[in-house]
Symmetry: C2
Subunit: 327 residues, 2 copies
Amino acid sequence: MGVTASAPAKVILFGEHFVVYGEPAIVLAIDKRVYAKAEKRVDKILHLNSANLALEATIENGVFTTEKGNPKEAKLRFEPVKTAVAKVLAKHGAAVGIDLEISSEVPVGAGLGSSAAVIASTTAAVSTLLNVNISREDIFRITFEAEKIVHGTPSGVDPAIATFGGTLLFQMDTGFRPLDIKSEISLVIGNTGVERSTRVQVEKVRAVKEKYPQVVEPMLRSAREIVLRAVEALKKDDLETVGELMNINHSLLRGVGVSDDSLEWLINAATKAGALGAKLTGAGGGGCMIALSRKDKLEQVTEAIQRAGGNPFIARKTDEGVRIEQS
Amino acid sequence: MGVTASAPAKVILFGEHFVVYGEPAIVLAIDKRVYAKAEKRVDKILHLNSANLALEATIENGVFTTEKGNPKEAKLRFEPVKTAVAKVLAKHGAAVGIDLEISSEVPVGAGLGSSAAVIASTTAAVSTLLNVNISREDIFRITFEAEKIVHGTPSGVDPAIATFGGTLLFQMDTGFRPLDIKSEISLVIGNTGVERSTRVQVEKVRAVKEKYPQVVEPMLRSAREIVLRAVEALKKDDLETVGELMNINHSLLRGVGVSDDSLEWLINAATKAGALGAKLTGAGGGGCMIALSRKDKLEQVTEAIQRAGGNPFIARKTDEGVRIEQS
């Protein structure tokens, strides 16, 4: 039998990169989810299997063994999952063997928060399986702690979105706060398929800012105003304004050097096909772009992104955070 | 026989549109010229012929007659030329019939200053033909006055570049001042072939600025800093920095809504082909883009723009203003 839990992926709607310099960002849970299925084993082994990553590993008495795929990658991907399971087992009070099957509806490592969603869904599945009483806040904390292992000092946005769903306003010094956005938001997410490193992209912006401080600092102020204006527009369901602000936000991101031609092709294609607005989302330099679109244009925009060489899928804002699917 | 004079076309290297709000701009004379050949006639008729525009007209006793092409367009194009010739004839003191042949090495009406170059070269050709003693400053003034007829209140940048050549720093409230730029600048100019109206584009920026003042005002400050930094870089022959600043400048122009997909395709293609920097030049929304390129990449960049559907040509900075070619 076992227990299946799920948690949503996320997109950054506004403010990536500028957030590093204290400006606000808007982050959105989307209706594409990561699923974790947990089953008890007769032994004490933790067995981890990720279909999307084609990785498999076992952990027995603290010894990590890669059963399938690149050992270094397996360790990197599974380490936070192992940590989360260990925290639940500590609450349970006894060692139990567990089979864990992970699958994701979004591309992994593309800035869509799949990593946090894996941990949140795993934590929920394992705690339910073992009848460990655990709150949403506990899931958030465990996910946050486990994410730190791989991401150093993450902002906590991905764990928060994966756990609570919805829309968050995030700022480095004040943390995140939920935004009450009633409007439906339909996005086409286009994956360029180009791998990028968040660290390299963040460094790129730092270098531009250091070389041209007087040029870049006003752009940060502009980015802040975009977010404030976007919050207003989202609350009023004024999607046209949201789209226009996405276009300006993308231009600023392009200005600090984090767009690339793979993203530009997809963004131009989406804009030409009638998207209300389009921008890169996340680190840039490849990865994903998002296009905001009215319902009657979703198909056109999706096709245009596909024709331009991207891998598109439609995603909608969801208020559903981590949840039990089956137990 | 007759006299042939020529004057250079121009590109805006930095600062278009933001100049409307008082920020500085850098304008460059290029080695593509407009030629005016003036010959005396036995009658008192002024006969005007533009090969590029396929327009021909005569003016006899103040009566304008279109001989070839659209009468409205002929009137619009030839009105300032007529005014300039009249000013030279007034200095000459007697009515003389003149045949005037105009040809241009740059596309007309694409924001490359061909209109001012036509007037400056005409003024020089006709005054030399009639032995009217005329200074460079006179040519500038006549060109400026004649430009006002069609362009309302032009900035005076185009007449200044057509007359004096070189590089100018322009600002609305202080006018233009020559920049002493020693470095060679090689550009690939890509014509999208998409017609645009400067007025419509200027209005577009005004609308964005009115809707999002707090977002756009910092972008104006950023644009100003770009120009100041670019002047430094040009003086130091630091073309890499000039290119980077062009990219940021284009991003800001894209942000205020004056780029379009015809420009974006060409700019992306040029960037991918190894240009140091690329941006729209002039009004945007079609018209022309420019790519700064090292000599060894000029051909590649040109080909890339061509393949992306543009009409490219190579142009270099010139210090040569209006001049007599043959007399």
